[in-house]
Amino acid sequence: MIYFDKVTKTYFDGAAPAVLDITLGVDPGEFVSIVGHSGAGKTTLLKMLFAEVIPTEGAVFFGSREVSKLSNGELLKLRRNIGTIFQDYRLLSTKNVYENIAFALEVAGRNDEDIAGDVPHVLDLVGLSDKIWSFPHQLSGGEQQRVAIARAIVNQPDVLIADEPTGNLDPINTHDIVEILKKINDLGTTVLLTTHNKSVVDSIGRRVVTMDQGRIVRDDKEGKYSL
């Protein structure tokens, strides 16, 4: 489903490559944890999947299509099919919870009736039904991350990318977020997770890809966190 074919990324001439000659395949429905020190190239690798970063060499395939060769319109469609969550939540600060989630549905071309039905449903899934009209600044970090997850999954994407989603959260919220990610994966969505958190990786117990200095140094089918 996702295939990184001998991918290298150098941000500017003379710099060490952020990602070096990586070949990696991800099957539909997999839960892949990508671990490594800061600067190992985890985020760069994920950003290449939705063309936020374009590889210097090699190619990234989503299905049968090479991501960097998609037209703008095709790329927008691809992005609507990939949910993304980040360490810093990246919610729209002037929109309330309902509007943040509705925005993802609106850009996918859904009508107002569908949106009015789907938003409460997905908020129920992440346990935030009572915060539907709150603004991001009125929510805790854990709650904001749950809104971000709700926004990422509301279009029922094929892939969910979670880049350090628990980096700013306490252990209880971290546990809740991981449980939600596992539930989403159980429903059939492919999940790509980057994290520094050993307990998170160990508790998931699925495939673990370890990166170091831009290269993949381990790829275990049912691995643990080890650097």
């Binding site: 936020e52 927008l76 729209l92 002037t94 929109k95 850009v107 071309g109 859904r110």
Partner: protein, 315 residues
Amino acid sequence: MSYWTTTKRIGRYGLVGFVRNGFVSLSAILMMTIMSFVLVNIMISNAAMTATLKDLTNKVDVTVYFRTNATQDQIDQISKSLQALPEVASVAVMSREQALADFRERHKNDQLTIQALDELGVNPLGASLEIRAKQTSQYESIAKYLQVQQDSDTGAGAAIDKVNFYQNKTAIDRLTNIIDTSKKNGIAKTIFLAICAVLIVLNTIRLAIYTSRDEIGVMNLVGASGWYVRGPFMVAGVLYGVVSSVVVLVLLYPILLYYPVLIGLDPTTELLFGNFNSFAYYTANFLLFFVAVTGTSIALGALSSYLAVRRYLRI
């Protein structure tokens, strides 16, 4: 998704963003209000300058005085030859009788002068021609033409007693310089102020949108098209323009009406510009001001937002 639904959503988000980012909106409106005041100031100043210059220009002329024995044929001949010159805008003939009547009217309270005139028994005044040029700089060539006619001492030119241009030459030259300089300065001032105002508004809106740069990135990331991202910002830009225009157009009424009173003048007079009344000009040309202020503000608001968002859009 239909265009109508998209348009409706863009409009709603634009309005909601305008209200929720109240402080940012207020700053942008204030800057656009200042820009609009600058624009109005330029418009009124230019109109006042034009009216004043026209007024002054109308007061300048070259007068040809004929000898008392000049015949009507000679006067007509000079008058026709002047009208044939491309520089001449108009020629007004003042007959001897009319000159005398005007003189009597002017001095009706000066019994001594009237008595002296009566004692003369004849009309001592000659006929005259009042010549207006199309431009003040052309008076000299008209005067030279008349001088040549006078110097020829034959035909109609012999009837010319005096051409008053050379007595007025310094004043006319100075006025010509003032008009030329005023026009050049007016254009330079207009361009300079307009550029300053536009740059200030562009930068204010750019700063307002700079605060939303991360959100623009997120919108791109969830798959929003360029127009769906920039649309609400452009709507907000248009709203800045509409609100600031209303503020300016409404405030101009009391400002133009009461400003002369505040500085101790009669409200129907103007401080610098003779008979030009800026309040009367504003009310008489309200449609022009409405279109200029509203059109400029809305266009500038939308364009500034478009350019500012484009900087942060990746698709």
